[in-house]
């Protein structure tokens, strides 16, 4: 403890120089925390979106993900009700949602366009996804259950609706190839118009009730059954359980399905990893410079300590402690600054611009994860200690006579 206070006293010897170095360490820490917090928030947001889009674990026919189909739903799941019931019996599963992916032509009588459709369990989807993930621009979402009296309901991407010049209440016709290879048509009524957030998808996307899609394709199969879990961390465990329950089926987690999440994560890891490395190197140089000057100025003192019986490791330890004092002071100030900045950003309610390929932005928030804060403080402290060790070890082992003669 005595040596710690000695280190504190030494840091205070040249206050202006130490203050500048502490400030650099603080700015470095704050930059790491704000940048890291932003990335963490984005990862969490993208994970949530990815998991909500696909479901945490997706079950399908063993050839669904890799094989090509000669006919629609050739690689479909034909016991979806049984799968759903068995999955929902697991307490970790909120709901299991069957989905049917199909494509074809959609026509308003005058004009036709290609669509990519999904047949869904509207009630179950709204239960786990909420309404916020479907950004309605007109009308409303699909009814919880398909109506028996009226035409089947459909939701369209906003660009597709614009192309077909339809509004809620308009009638359209879906044309698709059935599981037997023939063509089938189904009249539908526009219930709502929505935005997926990706312009390409907004030009093609269509949502209908699952029975509507099954009727159109003349099948009782579904493409996939997605299990939605209470906790995202249970994904791998539940996947393993499902593999035991349904041998011979293909299973993918939300991570396998989240191409966008993986791409963004890889990109951010590189960008912010490089920035983080630059910050760490800057802090390393700043502390090396400060302590390097201190070592030169105190060469005679080092010689005195050695003459009094200090071994080089004790000299180095003292400088490492000084580095730690500077680093930890910087980390403490930087942590406080990062916390204030993140709260200020939260309150400002700023939005990020739409990512490439997307038409909507997302809120700019900064995560305040204790693990991140601890890691940043640890990195800055470690960098400071390493810098101190590097600059002092030569001086500590220098000839005592030379050190004492240093002017």
């Amino acid at each position: 403890m005595k040596w710690f206070w000695f280190a504190v006293a030494n840091v205070r010897r040249n206050r202006r120089r130490s203050a500048t170095t502490i400030l650099i360490a603080a700015v470095g820490t704050a930059a790491l925390l704000v940048g890291g917090g932003f990335v963490q928030y984005n990862y969490a947001l993208l994970r949530r979106i990815a998991a909500h889009d696909s479901g945490h674990v997706v079950l399908a026919h063993r050839d669904h993900f890799d094989g090509d189909e000669d006919l629609p739903m050739q690689h479909g799941v034909d016991d979806a009700s049984l799968v759903k019931a068995r999955l929902e019996a697991d307490a970790r599963v909120i709901v299991a949602l069957p989905r049917l992916q199909f494509s074809g032509l959609i026509s308003n009588g005058d004009k036709s366009a290609v669509f990519i459709g999904t047949g869904i369990d509207a009630e179950g989807e709204s239960r786990v996804r909420g309404s916020s993930l479907w950004k309605l621009t007109a009308g409303s979402t699909l009814s919880a259950r398909p109506s028996e009296d009226d035409l089947p309901e459909i939701m369209l991407g906003k660009e597709l609706a614009r192309q077909l010049r339809v509004v809620p209440g308009s009638t359209l016709t879906l044309l698709a190839t059935t599981t037997e290879g023939s063509l089938n048509a189904q009249d539908v009524r526009v219930k709502g118009i929505y935005s997926v957030g990706v312009p390409e998808m907004d030009r093609r996307a269509v949502l209908v009730h699952l029975p509507t899609a099954q009727r159109l394709l003349l099948t009782d199969r579904v493409s996939t059954v997605s299990a939605y879990l209470r906790r995202i961390d249970d994904t791998d465990v539940v996947q393993a359980t499902m593999a035991g329950l349904f041998p011979g089926r293909a299973l993918q987690t939300w991570r396998d399905q989240a191409f966008y999440y993986r791409a963004v994560r890889a990109l951010y890891n590189r960008i912010f990893g490089l920035l983080g490395a630059i910050i760490v190197v800057l802090v390393l140089f700043a502390i090396s410079n400060t302590l390097g000057m201190a070592v030169v100025e105190r060469t005679r003192e080092i010689g005195t300590f050695r003459a009094l019986g200090a071994v080089p490791a004790q000299i180095t330890r003292n400088f490492v402690l000084e580095g730690l004092v500077v680093g930890l002071a910087g980390a403490a100030i930087g942590t406080a600054a990062a916390t204030l900045i993140s709260f200020a950003v939260d309150r400002a309610g700023a939005m990020m611009p739409p990512p490439p390929g997307y038409s909507v932005g997302y809120p700019l928030l900064i995560d305040r994860s204790p693990a991140l804060y601890a890691a940043a403080a640890l990195v800055i402290a470690a960098v400071s200690a390493i810098a101190a060790w590097a600059v002092s070890r030569k001086a500590a082992a220098r000839s005592i006579v030379e050190a004492l003669a240093h002017v």
Binding site: F6, R13, G309, S399
Partner: protein, 252 residues
């Protein structure tokens, strides 16, 4: 640590019988604390080798107060450094307390310095951010002495040099003489057998230098510590038991 058996043997292997014991006791009393034989040291300055010591042989007894005198460049400081184990001779042999120190590694030398040797420097070499008491504590702190004992011994050491009550003063709040006395207290706190002082009065006025000399003499006398003092100061030399003159790296 290696022991030089030729020197230690008389202490541990007295001749049998009463006469042998008496002889051993006499040898022990007569055994010098320092023994240098044909010690040589040269420094390289650029491409030139400058001899600093050329075959110096010297014995210094226990409790002796020895002055090393000579003009600048005569090799006083080099000899002092070798005696204090902070420099090694190129040739010759050096024994401290009968132990050949030439075979000791840096860590063993550091421990030996910590336990056996004290230093007083011309420029005091106090740590400016520490108080007088904390400066005196340094050798004990390096040796890992417990806090309470450290404090007590350091206070006693400051008392012994007449600085009781000034424990909390920092070096810049002390006069030159007081600083040098703090340095002497620091040199003495580890209870060394040998104290080496390099021009301890050079930066002091006459009256203060006299006080510092008195303190050192008194400590040497009361504690039986051997002092080797490199000095230009004739007053200092006059107070020493023996004066050894060096000229061009050899004993004059």
């Amino acid at each position: 640590m290696d022991h030089d058996t030729t020197c230690v043997a008389p202490r541990v292997s007295p001749a049998p019988g009463r006469d042998g014991a008496v002889r051993a006791e006499a040898l022990q009393l007569a055994a010098p604390l320092l023994q240098l034989r044909d010690v040589a040291k040269a420094y390289r300055v650029g491409h030139v080798t400058v001899p600093a010591l050329r075959g110096v042989s010297l014995d210094v007894g226990e409790g002796e107060f020895l002055a090393l005198v000579g003009p600048s460049g005569s090799g006083k400081s080099t000899l002092l450094h070798i005696c204090g184990l902070i420099d090694a001779p190129d040739a010759g042999r050096y024994q401290l307390e009968g132990k050949d120190v030439s075979r000791l590694g840096p860590r063993e030398l550091a421990i030996l310095r910590r336990e056996r040797v004290g230093f007083v420097f011309q420029g005091f070499n106090l740590v400016p951010v520490l108080t007088a008491l904390e400066n005196v504590e340094i050798p004990l702190l390096l040796a890992g002495v417990a806090r309470a004992e450290r404090g007590a011994r350091s206070r006693a050491s400051l008392e012994a040099v007449g600085l009781g009550g000034l424990e909390r003063r920092r070096p810049d709040e002390l006069s030159g003489g007081q600083r040098q006395r703090v340095a002497i207290a620091r040199a003495m706190v580890g209870r060394p057998r040998l104290v080496l002082a390099d021009e301890p009065t050079a930066n002091l006025d006459g009256a203060t230098a006299a006080q510092v000399i008195d303190v050192m003499r008194e400590l040497g006398r009361t504690r039986g510590v051997t002092f080797v003092v490199a000095t230009h100061d004739e007053r200092m030399a006059r107070h020493c038991d023996r004066v050894v003159a060096l000229r061009d790296g050899v004993l004059a």
